[in-house]
């Protein structure tokens, strides 16, 4: 525990997630090894919206999988506080295959509630309410293949919210969407984050997106994946990409990412 001093700042909100010196190496073939993560340490506080930005393939997904309990680290420790528990109140939204193709939108959104054996009428009510919140009120009977990419991610977010997550992990959820849809969904997500009082850890390779959403940004570098910089964003209210502050931060992050590529 000596390497973890994240809990010192006691004047802030409580830490819900603490990652201490996590490392992960993948072995492929006989001798080839890829160091996906090396000595990654950070803490996420209750109610924070944290974005992790880095090039594709820098181990961000591995990190999220470890936090979600879908993978185990080789080194280091992961601490969850505040009653956080895998399969209970940590939700995960992927980029692809985010919905069960054999279930309608309503069936998908109520999946988590069904697993918790909540009565049918109650889970339908709760699912319908969430479907409205993400703006899919006329599509509850539609199947995933009948929806557009943006609508599918809306449904996926509702599906995640249905289990009332304290921590929402998102792995490039808007990565496959066009710009205007992406902006729409970013705004919706920010709204939902405020309303539902969750903590969000959002991974993206898009610097714009990291800046639009995050209160705190971890800049991730590749091979081995680790955090090069932690930035706090102080911009108030809805963010504007054309401001000087935004552009300066953008250039700063770009610089951090590109020096690593040399």
């Amino acid at each position: 525990m000596s390497g973890c001093d994240n809990k010192k700042h006691s004047e802030e909100k409580p830490v819900v997630l603490e990652v201490c010196g996590i490392g992960k190496t993948f072995h492929s073939g006989s001798s080839r090894q890829t160091e996906a993560l090396k000595n990654v340490s950070f803490a996420v506080r209750h109610g924070e919206f944290v974005t992790v930005v880095g090039a594709t393939g820098c181990g961000k997904t591995t990190l999220l999988n470890i936090i979600a309990g879908l993978d185990t680290p080789d080194d280091g420790q992961l601490h969850l506080y505040n009653g956080l528990h895998f399969g209970e109140n940590i939700a995960y939204v992927f980029q692809h295959y985010t919905l069960f193709p054999w279930r309608s939108v309503l069936g998908n959104v109520s999946f988590g509630l069904q697993m918790r054996r909540i009565a049918k009428s109650e889970r339908k009510d709760r699912a319908r309410q969430l479907i409205c919140e993400v703006g899919l009120e006329n599509f509850e009977d539609a199947y995933p293949h009948e929806l557009s990419g943006g609508m599918r991610q809306r449904a996926a977010i509702a599906q995640a919210l249905a289990i009332k997550p304290k921590l929402l992990l998102m792995d490039e959820p808007f990565g496959a969407l066009d710009d205007s849809t992406r902006t729409e969904l970013q705004q919706m997500l920010t709204g939902l984050w405020r309303e539902h009082h969750m903590t969000i850890l959002f991974v993206t390779h898009n610097i714009d997106e990291a800046l639009m959403l995050g209160e705190k940004i971890f800049v991730f570098t590749e091979r081995p994946g680790r955090i090069a910089k932690e930035l706090k964003i102080k911009m108030q209210g809805p963010r504007n990409k054309t401001t000087k502050e935004f552009t300066e931060l953008f250039i700063k992050i770009r610089g951090l990412l590109s020096t690593q590529m040399d």
Binding site: F94, Y97, F100, F111, P144, Q159
Partner: protein
């Protein structure tokens, strides 16, 4: 553009009308002319003679029952065996597909037994089950229903016929389940048992239905062959053989038409079920 599409649709409609009505009618006409000029109905009966039999499906033939009663016996045998095969093969397939050690242990045995023609099991099955029937199994010696014709040996052979295609397809389906769906279910709180029911089963459903379709087709093949063996006394396959021994070719061909028609009907039903239940197949996003 739109007009062209409409035109294509019309051509397709016309072609399919020819394919389903005109061509078969032509075949029947040629058959009729050939059979009438041959004048040997005990070898090659004309269409009219065969249709006369098909139009009187309740007529008793010698001591072997009617076309209809024998068809029903065959169908009940097949459906019983197929039902048993479906339940066991799908369950075993899902369990084997999701628990690696079980698959490693059982698959070699499956691969060794599978290539054996189901009919080859018949003598063995008859020795094991004698001529015990379904009602006798539950202690009723004679129930006066169609089930008195459903011998356990027959069911066993049908079971073997349907079991393997259903098992292998289910296995393939379960192995092909995207890991993502399992992870998603896991993060949403599904237990291992819930994952079987709510992820493995629905995700493998397209392959399971393919297996069921192949399975029921094979069961129908197997029953006809099994009923043609000596020692049976009912079923459409038996009637076909019996009529052939008595040179009643019109009944033989009627039975063939019924067998073919039911086979096609079963296949059609299973295909409709695929469209109905797995409309998402091939459209994963």
């Amino acid at each position: 553009m739109h007009k062209e599409k409409q035109k294509n649709k019309d051509t397709r409609k016309r072609d399919s009308f020819f394919g389903w009505i005109v061509v078969p009618a032509l075949v029947l006409v040629i058959w009729q002319i050939a059979a009438v000029s041959l004048k040997q109905p005990w070898i090659f009966p004309p269409v009219t003679m065969v249709f006369k039999q098909l139009l009187h499906p309740l007529r008793e033939h010698y001591a072997s029952g009617s076309l209809l009663s024998n068809t029903l016996v065959s169908l009940v045998r097949v459906l019983t065996g197929f039902l048993l095969a479906s339940i066991t093969a799908v369950t075993l397939g899902i369990i084997m597909g999701s628990i690696r050690i079980l698959r490693t242990l059982i698959e070699p045995a499956v691969e060794l037994i599978r290539p054996l023609c189901p009919i080859a099991w018949l003598p063995f099955a008859i020795v094991i089950f004698k001529l015990k029937t379904l009602p006798q199994l539950i202690g009723i010696s004679y129930s006066h229903t169609i089930f008195d014709q459903v011998q356990l040996g027959m069911i066993f052979v049908i079971f073997v016929g349907g079991f393997f295609p259903i098992l292998t397809n289910t296995l393939d389906g379960v192995t092909g389940v995207r890991k993502n769906y399992l992870l998603l279910a896991q993060t949403l709180g599904a237990t291992r048992r819930q994952a079987f029911l709510h992820v493995y089963l629905p995700a493998a459903m397209p392959m399971i239905l393919t297996g069921l379709r192949q399975g029921i087709g094979l069961c129908w093949f197997v029953i006809i062959a099994a009923e043609m063996m000596t020692g049976t006394d009912s079923g459409i396959g038996y009637l076909l053989m019996y009529a052939s021994d008595n040179s009643a070719m019109d009944i033989v061909i009627s039975a063939m038409i019924i067998i073919g028609g039911i086979g096609a009907g079963l296949n059609f039903l299973m295909r409709a079920a695929c469209y109905r239940f797995v409309s998402w197949q091939g459209k994963e996003v």
